[in-house]
């Protein structure tokens, strides 16, 4: 396990490179999901969501 983490002595470069990918893309994913949930809630509150329009 120590060998895996040290990555042949280059762990200090490899793990941050993966870290930025996970942080930036994971962060964007969470932000996007929350933004969608918020908009859907507002649409529902005003009766503007798809199901409400289809009922009309």
């Amino acid at each position: 396990m120590g060998g895996f983490l040290s990555m042949g002595g280059h762990g200090a470069y490899i793990w941050p490179a993966y870290g930025i990918a996970v942080a930036a893309l994971g962060g964007l994913l969470i932000w996007s999901l929350r933004a969608r949930a918020k908009v859907q809630r507002e649409l529902q509150d005003r009766g503007l969501d798809r199901r409400a329009r289809e009922r009309r």
Partner: protein
């Protein structure tokens, strides 16, 4: 009717029905590709005989570069669709794409820097490839800023579309910078006319990671476009006093 798949999505309501159906499956596929891609990149791929373990940085760096450029081509195409054909969905999709492209460009730049330090002995050089890639990141940021700079969101959409079209000249500069100038960055080794110059043990994880980045790009763009459609609907409702 030459391109039914595109025209099919031109209508926002139809787009939403389509994306609602496809998003759960695409989300599952994205998660699966990321899990297997990261597993192969970190545990299966062998160390390179020259780069050692740092070759693993390539698996997050190279696909981020490819898809941030492809996403910009999409952004420019959407800009044209908005300015020339006044396509109703183009502006909303452009707003959805830009932050994803910016994130991909950022991942490319930072991961490249973490590779450059041990391999080149420097975090950064102002060489043609790195500089044009940094410009791509700033073009994305400019697009995001411009599209939100006006009270009238349609004015912002058009201004951002103009920027997207002007900035498209940067794409061939990025692609061919390693051939046109004598740069520190190595030339292409996968996207070559005579086939990739990479051993399958490295190429396979790279391609799986490329598929994972693509799946995430499509997933995020569909999800975020759907959000923008809803947001625009709320705006319109507020304006008409509903």
């Amino acid at each position: 009717m030459a391109m039914p798949s595109i025209h099919f999505l031109a209508n926002p309501a139809r787009f939403q029905r389509f994306s609602a159906r496809i998003l759960p499956w695409l989300g599952a596929l994205t998660a699966l590709l990321w899990a297997s891609g990261l597993y192969m990149a970190l545990l299966v791929a062998p160390p390179d005989y020259q780069q050692g373990e740092t070759v693993r940085i390539m698996f997050v760096h190279v696909p981020a570069a490819w898809w941030s450029m492809a996403a910009y081509a999409l952004l420019a195409g959407l800009g044209a669709a908005l300015l020339v054909w006044r396509h109703p969905l183009a502006a909303l999709m452009a707003r959805a794409v830009a932050p994803v492209g910016a994130a991909y460009a950022l991942v490319c730049l930072v991961s490249g820097s973490f590779w450059g330090r041990p391999m080149w002995g420097t975090w950064w050089v102002w060489d043609a490839r790195l500089t044009s890639m940094l410009l791509l990141f700033f073009l994305y940021l400019g697009h995001i800023a411009l599209s939100r700079a006006f009270d009238d969101s349609e004015r912002g959409d058009r201004a951002a579309a103009v920027l997207a079209l002007v900035g498209v000249v940067n794409l061939p500069v990025i692609k061919f910078s390693v051939d046109w100038w004598n740069t520190l960055h190595q030339p292409a080794s996968v996207m070559k006319l005579d086939g990739p110059a990479i051993h399958p043990s490295i190429l396979t994880p790279l391609l799986v990671m490329a598929a994972a980045y693509l799946a995430l790009l499509v997933f995020l763009v569909l999800l975020r476009t759907e959000t923008e459609i809803g947001r625009r609907r709320l705006e319109t409702a507020a304006l008409t006093g509903r």
